[in-house]
């Protein structure tokens, strides 16, 4: 049976792992390699490294850490942030990342997804989507790394989810902005609506605060993976404990095992 995945997300800013509340007030929570090793040993199924400064400031991710991370990880990891071209993606994949995730650059140039998928295959191409609940429904936001520039991209979330799949994205990470960082649970209705429109793997992001939230998002929203940051970085939830509780609740997970 395919296991549901638990994915710690490491937001990277200036080479450090940081976390903010509602995308604001970022504070340093640790060193990239130390956290990568720790999550590997705790049984994380995958890691996402997201450079939250890259898109707003027009910079690319510092690639130096990608191969250092690849050398210590024996689980898959995805790199997001600042990937605007096939060449950007190739550098990250060649350094040892399993997948690359595109968000704002794909909104500006949707054909980027087609080019990435044609070159590397859909399995390498993740569409990251920041979605906000608004009076107009679920809307895709862009430039969300910078609260002063964040704005409605002009796209409805469900339309964009269908479009990125048609263009060749092999996975969707849906970050529900209104629940992000506040630990009151994933936005189940939002995720369930996207699940219905999504035939590729769907990763839930934003809102995890306690183990029950993970069980809910797998059971109610039917997502393939759940991503979280602060509850893992801050030690509120230990991944081995989380996996034991999910298993006890009848959710298929990869058992935790100490590294040899």
């Amino acid at each position: 049976m395919l296991a549901r995945r638990i994915i710690p997300c490491l937001d990277v800013r200036d080479g450090q792992v940081v976390k903010g509340v509602r995308f604001r007030d970022h504070r340093v929570v640790g060193d990239i390699l130390e956290l990568a090793r720790r999550y590997r040993d705790e049984g994380a199924d995958e890691l996402v490294f997201y450079d939250i400064t890259a898109s707003p400031e027009g910079r690319s991710v510092d690639r130096g850490w990608v191969s250092r991370v690849a050398s210590v990880l024996d689980i898959p990891f995805c790199v997001a942030g600042g990937i605007r071209s096939v060449a950007d993606a190739e550098a990250v994949l060649n350094a040892g990342a399993e997948k690359i995730s595109v968000n704002s650059p794909a909104l500006a140039d949707p054909a980027l997804i087609d080019r990435l998928s044609a070159r590397f295959g859909a399995q390498c191409v993740v569409a990251g989507i920041d979605s906000e609940t608004t009076p107009q429904g679920f809307r895709v936001y862009q430039f969300t790394g910078d609260p002063d520039r964040a704005r409605d991209s002009g796209r409805a979330t469900l339309d964009w989810v269908r479009e990125v799949q048609d263009r060749g994205a092999g996975e969707v990470v849906l970050n529900c902005m209104s629940s992000d960082g506040v630990r009151r649970g994933y936005d189940l209705g939002h995720l369930a609506a996207v699940r219905d429109a999504c035939q590729v793997p769907l990763v839930a992001s934003g809102g995890a605060g306690e183990p029950a939230h993970f069980e809910q998002v797998f059971r109610v929203a039917g997502v393939d993976a759940a991503l979280a940051a602060s509850v893992f970085h801050g030690g509120t939830i230990a991944i081995p404990d989380l996996k034991r509780s999910l298993r006890a609740a009848g959710i298929e997970v990869r058992p935790w095992r100490s590294q040899s």
Binding site: R5, A70, F120, V200, D224
Partner: protein, 199 residues
């Protein structure tokens, strides 16, 4: 200078994770698309990222496709590299290397079963093989693929995803795994270590 393993350069990106995994096991790996280097290697890995058609095109352009079926040393195909060992792939209706019998078909998405098949799935052994030594049936490995071979002659282990798909296949010195051992934690490292010990 002498390598323990030659990784065939089929032109795709992402050989780094495989090289790092071999390095953690103390194996020296070189990357080559030279038929003579591959023929002289103690062991051969055939990775693959991208499409079957592109990968076969590159192997043919380098003359590697003619060398592989005659190899006598252990060869391991990984993911697309395993799919290329079969006779045909539905991906671009591509002729494969024909080392293993059977063909590779597109996985069909269904509610609750997205495609690509992506993540950690359990692998059930169909028969004993030195490649799987010390690995329990039901162990999780990391898969990511949209095409799969259905079980047949040469199937050594399967995974269930809307029916059984080939997870490990082989005959003689040739073996293939649909999952990524280099990204499959302790179990994946054990499988690669087993490969490095195959006679």
């Amino acid at each position: 200078m002498s390598a323990d393993v030659v990784i065939i350069d089929s032109g795709g990106a992402n050989l780094a994770s495989l090289q790092f995994a071999l390095g953690r096991l103390g194996a020296r790996a070189v990357v080559s698309a030279e038929p003579a280097t591959i023929a002289a290697a103690p062991r051969v890995l055939l990775p693959g990222v991208g499409s079957a058609g592109d990968a076969m095109h590159r192997l043919r352009a380098a003359g590697v496709d003619r060398v592989l079926p005659g190899l006598r040393q252990p060869l391991l195909g990984i993911c697309l590299g395993m799919q290329l060992l079969f006779e045909r792939s539905a991906e671009g209706d591509t002729a494969g290397l024909g080392i293993l019998p059977g063909s590779v078909d597109r996985l069909v998405a269904a509610p609750g079963r997205p495609v690509p098949h992506m993540g950690w799935n359990t692998v059930e052994a169909s028969c004993a093989d030195p490649l799987l030594e010390g690995i329990q049936s039901g162990e999780h490995f990391y898969f990511v693929h949209s095409y799969a071979a259905r079980p047949g002659a040469g199937t050594l282990a399967t995974a269930d995803y809307g029916g059984p798909v080939v997870a490990v296949a082989g005959r003689d010195n040739f073996r293939g795994v649909q999952f990524h051992p280099e990204r499959s934690g302790v179990a994946g490292a054990r499988l690669l270590a087993n490969f490095l010990r195959l006679p």
